[in-house]
Each structure stands twice: as C-alpha cells, then as structure tokens.
C-alpha cells in the first residue's frame, strides 16, 4: 500500500481531490471568472481580458486571489478579535464538510450511511450561524443589519429545502444518496416530481444569496453586509464560502433530481464522477448567470416568498410523492 494507492482510496480521494478540496477550489476560481464573463456578455462588453489575452482573461481570479493574499488584513480596534478572525475560517472550512458524504459512483464513496442525505443537508445549514456571529463581531452597523437579515432568510428557506429534499427521499423510500442515485437509472427525479425540483432550485439560490435574493450583502443598501469589515485574504475566504456552499448544494440537488451519475457509460468512478460534476457545474453557472438578469428583492419580499410560496409548494411536493407511491410507482429494494 504505497502512497499512490493510498491516495486513490475513496476515503482519501473524495474529500481531498475530486468533489472535495481541490476540485472545489478549481471550480471556485473558474466560477468567479465565469460569472464576470457571463455578466459582461449579457451587458454588451468583454469582462476581464488583458490578464491573459489569448484565453479571455481566465486567470483573472488568480490575480484577485494574489492581491487578497498580499493585502493587509485590517483588524479594527474595537472588534471581538477571536470571533472576527475565526468565523471566516469556520465558514470556509465547514462549507467543504458535506462533500465527504457525496458518493461519485455506486461503488466509490468515502462514507456511506443510510442517512447520508440528512447528514449532508444538516452540515450545509451550519453556514448562517457563522454569518450571524460575523455580523455581530465586526461591530459595524451595516454588518449588524446584514447578519440579522441572514437570520431572517434562514427561517424562510431552511424548512422548505428540507421538505422538498425529503419528499424525494419519500419517493425513493431511502435516505442514502447512493440508493437514491441508483434508483434514478431509468427516470430522473425531476420528471417525477417537478414541483419539488423547481422549489428546491429557487431555494438553493436563496440560501447562497444569489440574485435575485442577494439580500444579506445587498451592496446598495448595507455596503457588504456581514463582510463589510473584512479585508485581505479573510475576505477572500468569505467570498469563496458562498460559492462552495452553492457547489455543495448543487451536487446534492443533481443527485436528488438529475439522476446523479446515471447516464454514465461505466461504473468507473472518474467517468460517473465527471457526469455528476458537469451537472453541478451547470447549476452553479446558472446561479452565476442570474446576477445579470435580476435586481434584488427586499428582505420582507424574500421572507414572504419563503413562507407563502416555497413552504406550501414543498408540502405539495410531499403530497405528490405520496400520490406517486400509492399509484404504484416503486423503486427496487
């Protein structure tokens, strides 16, 4: 068992390399550049270009990262130092945690349990707590308002996400991501229960504050929301965390609704993992595209949507799953 084999063991490879650290980091760099390029394309202009002219400025995000690395991380005087410095690290670190649970092929998974969907969703809900602490710790009125807004939003999107995810679990009568993905070999979940699919997609964009729900760090009202006082690499971590959370949630979404790795020709982990990554990448890119389409909602409108529209829809999706099951739709095992 030399080092190379060890690296390819699933419990090392998944969290570290493929859907884990390195793939997420590369995706982060590409997505931020892609977001600026897509927005520029919609807005009749070029976007970042002269960084690397032949390739259309692909390494713009690396330039930004380098600048953040060498920028002075200012810690304001009357700020709660411990909370101020540690929350971004936790936020960025914990955003990766659910990736451990996500399998990339029927046989190749780091950690399998028959409750893996619940674990993944539960870990994904840790982020708002740190945004609240961050807002309070940086002793700035705008960040206080921003973090309280994040608190409001959590109440309006957390419950419906869980319900619409569980409605699919009810349909496949299993909470294990591998079984759910396997069950969609013939037909994807999105065709079975479109209400849950649409509802969860919108709520994913609300939870990672993508447009039109970019409310906690609404720039034109409360400067950068909870992240106003952060500079240097700490801000780089914080800005990356929301993209990582979007990547994690879109991976869960593509397993639940888009059939995980299903049309993959062979059970070989790399190919099926690639199909899964492609679906998640498309969802994240669509989230980035929304920046160019929508202005942003007010906080009361977003909470209104969460409770008056998303919550009943998620109950409806559970009803649809039950009707499908009574109607005799059953999946193996």
């Amino acid at each position: 068992m030399n080092i190379i084999d060890l690296l390819f063991q699933p419990y090392i490879f998944i969290p570290l390399v493929f859907p884990g650290l390195i793939a997420a980091f590369v995706l982060l760099l590409i997505i931020i550049w892609l977001e600026r390029k897509i927005a520029a394309k919609v807005q009749l202009r070029y976007g970042p270009l002269y960084v690397l002219k032949p390739l259309g400025g692909v390494i713009q995000t690396i330039a930004d990262l380098l600048r953040y690395l060498f920028q002075e991380p200012i810690i304001p005087k009357d700020v709660d130092k411990v909370a101020f410095l540690l929350t971004p690290v936790f936020l960025f670190g914990l955003a990766y945690l659910p990736l451990v649970i996500i399998p990339i092929s029927p046989t190749y998974y780091a950690f399998r349990s028959d409750l893996s969907l619940l674990i993944a969703l539960a870990l994904a809900t840790l982020a708002p707590i740190f945004t609240l602490i961050m807002g309070w710790a940086s002793n700035n009125k705008f960040s206080l308002i921003g973090s309280v807004r994040e608190g409001y939003l959590v109440t309006s999107y957390e419950m419906p996400i869980f319900l619409s995810a569980l409605s699919m679990a009810v349909l496949y009568n299993s909470l294990d991501l591998v079984e759910i993905a396997e069950a969609q070999r013939k037909i994807w979940g999105v065709f079975l229960n479109p209400v849950a699919a649409a509802n969860m997609l919108v709520l994913i964009y609300m939870s990672t504050s993508k447009f039109p729900f970019e409310i906690p760090e609404a720039e034109s009202e409360i400067v950068a929301g909870p992240y106003t006082e952060y500079s240097g690499i700490i801000y780089g971590l914080v800005m990356g965390a929301s993209y990582i959370k979007l990547y994690v949630l879109s991976l869960i979404y593509s397993i639940l609704f888009l059939g995980g790795w299903n049309p993959s020709p062979s059970p070989d982990p790399l190919i099926s993992g690639g199909v899964l990554f492609l679906k998640a990448f498309i969802l994240v890119a669509f989230g980035a595209f929304l920046r160019a389409v929508y202005p942003r909602f007010r906080i009361d409108q977003a909470v209104n949507i969460g409770w008056r529209i998303a919550f009943p829809l998620s109950l409806l999706s559970i009803l649809i799953s039950l009707i499908l099951i009574l109607g005799g739709v059953s999946f193996g095992s």
Partner: protein
C-alpha cells in the same frame, strides 16, 4: 524567548525575526514580481464619487470603454479595495471624507486624481470651499481634462499598472 537546541541556547525575539524573514522573502525577486502582477491586474476602485467627473468615471466602466478588461471592477466596500479615485473637485467637507476613506483602506493602496479640478482646482480654482487633493493624499496618477474622456481614465489605469509592475509602488517594510 529562550529555546534550547542540543546544548546551545538560542536567544532573541523569534516573532520579530520571523516578520523580518517574511518581509525579506516577499521582497525577493520571484515572489515580488508575482505579487506586483497580481495587484496590478486587480485594481478595484472604491465606490466614492467626489464630484461631477463621476459621470465620465461611470462611462469608463460602461460597455463602450469597459475598464473591466484591465481587471478594474468598481467595488462596494472600503476594506476590499486598493484604489481610490478622486473624481474632480474636493470640497472641504468631501476632503474629510476622502481622508477617512483613504485611511480605512488596506495597505497597498493607490490614488488617482481625475480631472483638472483634482490637479489644481480647475475651473473652480478660486472657490473658497475647495482643497487640492495633493495636499491631503499621496496621489499616484493625475488625469487632465474636464471631464477627462473615458480613454484617458483607461490610460491612467494602464500607467498605474506599469508603475506597480515596475515595483516602484508596493513595498513591504518590516
């Protein structure tokens, strides 16, 4: 701070020497060029319009002149930006705000004075209420014109980028 190493005692302030080593490393050839290249292609101006030149600054970020090709993205907060654009006249009230904004920005920061009013008062040279930016802020590049054309704004950014890449502006003292 004293630490024992096989019989010989090392004496000295570890923390200061660590910082000195870091400063030496960062100013060394390969890291310095990479850092200057990164900073020069990611100049994010803070959203702080001081006077009427703001209209032409906004036009330089708009589709036709699109300063984002140079990595120039007008950004929201003071803490995340490294470039301050003095657009036009600085009245006394605005000068205080400009000083506060400049002091809150993280360290490798640059200032561009835009318009004839930022150079020497322009058409309002004899007004009782204006301040020359060079008296209160270290300005790196001036742009003539009233208001300067968006191409002049883009040229100023390119000149600032060249100065940074030549290594004149960004220094790390211990």
């Amino acid at each position: 701070m004293v630490c024992v190493l096989e019989g010989s005692i090392l004496v000295g302030n570890l923390e200061r020497s660590a910082r000195k080593a870091a400063a030496w490393l960062v100013n060394k050839r390969p890291i310095r060029d990479l850092r200057d290249w990164g900073i020069s292609f990611s100049l994010w101006p803070v959203h702080f319009t001081t006077a009427c030149c703001g209209a032409e600054f906004a036009a330089s970020a708009a589709p036709k002149y699109d300063a984002e090709r140079l990595g120039f993205l007008p950004f929201i907060g003071i803490r995340q930006c490294n470039l301050l654009f003095i657009e036009g006249t600085l009245s006394k009230k605005m000068a205080e705000a400009a000083i506060w904004v400049y002091e809150q920005m993280p360290e490798p920061k640059f200032v561009i004075g835009m318009g004839a009013c930022a150079i020497d008062g322009g058409i309002f040279w004899n007004s009782y209420n204006i301040v020359r930016p060079m008296d209160i802020l270290p300005v790196n590049v001036f742009i003539p014109g009233c208001p300067p054309r968006p191409e002049a704004v883009a040229q100023a950014i390119i000149m600032l980028q060249r100065k940074i890449r030549k290594g004149e502006l960004v220094k790390y003292e211990d």
